[in-house]
């Protein structure tokens, strides 16, 4: 089912809103006025897409803002966190599995699902977790306009990045205006993003991607091409968001750093969808690992890290899509990280730190590692996207 409607940089609306933000927000010298104007731009952009449903979104944002205030003042803190967590999870499940809600044929259900898609609720949910956790840990709750600007930044709605709340809160209220060189760099980022998406990625897709229909030996080639295509397409969105953010004076984090040069799974997750892996590290991996270390009184560090990797990446898989495919994808990545971690520990034990340094400097090992990591990641992606249901033995399998 296609329900995708987003403020894509394909549309004129996106560029008009970027232009408006530069002209209006960019010139303001008061932090409050700037925050208010930016919130107006973000809500305005959403209004172009969801029309009257902006009222519902705004009410939701006000509710979040009030809840954060109450959490900060320790009023019914646990209850709010539990209720908020359940509500976010519920909305997330509806967003990821909309067919069930639509099948109920309730009045407005389709519009509701579309609205969740338009606001990019996957990303909003992660930002909600971030801000709730930060405020619960004692950080100042955001103002209403900051809540809007953090949760629904229009240039990051389509495909992130996922800004950390601390990163958002630490940016100056009135940032230094960019120099000509910085503005040119931002335009260059946008141009390279558009080139990546509309020239390279689209050509690759048009000529070589068949959704595995071609079959035969081409499947092996298509697994590689699909992975390259995904990087080009996805990182293009991030490049445009980054460039637009810089022009508007809105801090926007870097999301990709040459992931194909990764030499192992740990390195890969420091290069691919960086803001997601940092989110996972902050909000899942570290808390789980710390809890396990406490539980085991500082023993079994490797085993604890392995469990934390597994839990983190199974959840990461479910965040991408609720179902067995991405659960498998998450499990494969967890396996890659666990093996990598164990291998590093084994090498350290066997050849020592000096030996590891020599090992890392070996060009042949480096090339082989990069190829292996590329293939592993491409295969993991294929496990999540290959149309297994088209295979005769799959459909003929009883039950």
């Amino acid at each position: 089912m296609m329900l995708v409607t987003s403020l894509d940089f394909y549309g004129l609306e996106f560029w008009l809103m970027v232009g408006l933000a530069i002209l209006v927000v960019g010139g303001l010298t008061s932090a409050t006025a700037r925050s208010v104007a930016l919130a107006a731009v973000n809500l305005g952009a959403l209004t172009l897409l969801v029309h009257w449903r902006i009222v519902v979104i705004f009410a939701g944002l006000v509710a979040v803002w009030l809840a954060l205030k109450l959490i900060a003042h320790r009023v019914a803190r646990s209850q709010i966190l539990i209720a908020g967590g359940l509500a976010t999870l519920g909305l997330f499940v509806l967003h990821k599995a909309p067919d069930r809600l639509i099948a109920l044929n309730l009045p407005g259900s389709r519009g509701f699902v579309v609205t969740l898609t338009i606001v990019g609720f996957s990303y909003v949910a992660l930002r909600l977790v971030e801000v709730a956790r930060a405020v619960a840990d004692g950080r100042q709750p955001p103002s209403l306009t900051a809540t809007i600007n953090y949760l629904v930044p229009f240039h990051m709605l389509s495909a992130g990045p996922i800004q950390s709340y601390d990163d958002f809160a630490s940016q100056p209220g009135v940032p230094r205006p960019p120099s000509k060189a910085e503005s040119l760099e931002a335009v260059e980022l946008i141009a390279s993003g558009l080139f990546k998406k509309y020239v390279i990625a689209n050509t690759l897709q048009a000529l070589f991607i068949t959704d595995y229909s071609a079959g035969g030996w081409y499947t092996v080639l298509e697994i590689q091409i699909s992975y390259v295509w995904l990087y080009l397409d996805f990182s293009a969105y991030s490049d445009v968001a980054l460039g637009a953010g810089r022009l508007m004076g809105v801090a926007t984090p870097v999301n990709f750093r040459y992931p194909y040069l990764a030499r192992n799974s740990i390195d890969y997750w420091e290069r691919w969808h960086i803001t997601l892996s940092q989110f996972i590290r902050r909000n899942v991996f570290m808390p789980v690992q710390v809890a396990l270390m406490r539980e085991t009184r500082g023993n079994y560090a490797l085993q604890n890290a392995s469990v934390a990797f597994l839990i983190s990446f199974l959840l990461c898989g479910l965040w991408h899509s609720i179902g067995p495919r991405y659960l498998l994808w998450g499990a494969l990545h967890a396996l890659g990280l666990i093996v990598c971690n164990l291998y590093r520990a084994m090498l350290l034990k066997k050849i020592g730190r000096k030996g590891i340094n020599l090992y890392l400097k070996n060009r042949w090992i480096h090339v082989a590692s990069v190829i292996l990591t590329f293939e592993f990641t491409a295969l993991a992606l294929a496990a999540a996207t290959y149309p297994f249901d088209r295979l005769p033995w799959w459909t003929d399998y009883p039950g």
């Binding site: 010298t29 335009v187 068949t210 071609a214 022009l247």
Partner: protein, 374 residues
């Protein structure tokens, strides 16, 4: 509170960029002369997603027929515009147990579109025994601006959408105001963009052909190639004001004007080419004039049909493809809007079409020249 100097560097950079792009654009226009010479005159209006869907349908049907005992089964392909989707349920076609019917319909009403899809069916591994074009004479019209950018500002469309409270469409209508300068400066931009997409679609087939795959290998096989869902199940008539809007569109396209039907238009040339190619691989072609409401029929100029018959006879003489006229075969009550049948009308027309095709297919060789001479 507001300091314009803060945005000066960004505005300067963006204006420079816009200036460069504008100069490049303005520079390109005189070079390409408005219409690039490499743009063919016979491009189809079918967009690539529809082509891919149709290709998937042909591929799945071919595979299914290949798996079954193909020698015993015969494949008929129905090609037409949106009236085909409304008008024929291919699974209910009763032309004998050995016949399977595959329906392909572009979202246009233009003979070049029909021919483009017909070419696709000839790429499948199971060659059809017969191609049936379900058209109206209006499919031959030379439609002014059919390839031009459709995002033009039209106050009537805006009023129509406002009356129907289709706010999203109304908003798009207003936004189209901004596209007017682009449309004036680059009247072929939609055409070029569509053509580039079509080129990449064909290039993909060439790439796979070069790798010794079938040309249709890249496309996802349709899991239910034989079925065509009815778009408005249970609907009896389109809402008030709909026909007014449809006629507005038809008048705007000058479909009711005799001058829109030249003796040797691109449509008829494409048809002739397709018939020759089909016959070259042993596939016969039948032209069926699709059922239409009485008002549309009465407003359609006589030249439309005359030109079709003349052109077919001129191109093929005694071996002309058969023309089966079913325009008046269904009463007005069975139409949703004079052009598209209701689901009840669809059942009736499917039966009528089956009966006629059965007669034709059983005595095909003899009847072709008879009908062409009519």
């Amino acid at each position: 509170m507001y300091d314009p100097k803060r945005i000066s560097s960004r505005v300067l950079v963006l204006l420079s960029l816009a200036g460069v792009l504008g100069l490049v654009g303005v520079g390109i226009r005189p070079i390409v002369g408005g219409r690039p010479s490499w743009l063919p005159e016979t491009e189809s209006t079918v967009d690539v997603p529809l082509y891919r869907k149709a290709a998937g349908r042909v591929l799945a049907a071919s595979r299914e027929l290949r798996r079954s005992a193909r020698g015993a089964e015969r494949l008929g392909v129905l090609i037409g515009g949106s009236s085909l989707i409304h008008g024929v349920d291919p699974t209910q076609m009763d032309t004998g147990a050995e016949w399977r019917w595959l329906s392909l319909a572009p979202s246009g009403a233009y003979l070049i579109d029909d021919c483009a899809l017909a070419q696709l069916t000839l790429e499948g591994s199971a060659q059809p025994d017969v191609l049936v074009f379900l058209i109206t004479p209006s499919h031959l019209a030379v439609l002014p601006g059919i390839h031009d950018d459709t995002s033009t500002f039209d106050t009537d469309e805006l009023a129509f959408h406002v009356r129907r409270r289709e706010w999203f469409k109304a908003q798009t209508d207003v936004a189209n105001l901004m596209l007017i300068p682009w449309n004036v400066l680059y009247p072929n931009r939609t055409r070029i963009s569509r053509y580039l997409r079509q080129m990449s679609f064909e290039a993909q087939q060439d790439v796979f052909h070069a790798m010794a795959f079938s040309r249709l290998a890249p496309y996802e096989p349709d899991p239910t190639p034989w079925a065509v869902d009815f778009p408005y199940p249970g609907a009896v008539r389109m809402p008030d004001g709909w026909m007014e809007f449809v006629y507005h569109g038809l008048e705007k396209s000058k479909l009711f004007e005799p001058s829109s039907y030249p003796a040797n238009g691109q449509g008829i040339r494409s048809l002739a080419d397709t018939v020759r190619r089909a016959r070259g691989v042993g596939t016969e072609v039948i032209l069926v004039l699709m059922a239409e409401g009485s008002e549309v029929r009465s407003r359609m100029p006589r030249e439309a049909e005359t030109r079709l018959r003349e052109a077919v006879h001129r191109e093929f003489g005694d071996s002309s493809p058969m023309i089966v006229d079913l325009r008046g075969s269904v009463v007005d009550d069975m139409f949703l809007d004079q052009l598209h049948l209701s689901d009840k009308g669809r059942n009736i027309f499917t039966r009528i079409l089956s009966d006629r095709l059965r007669q034709v297919l059983f005595s095909r060789a003899g009847s072709i020249s008879d009908h062409a001479a009519q």
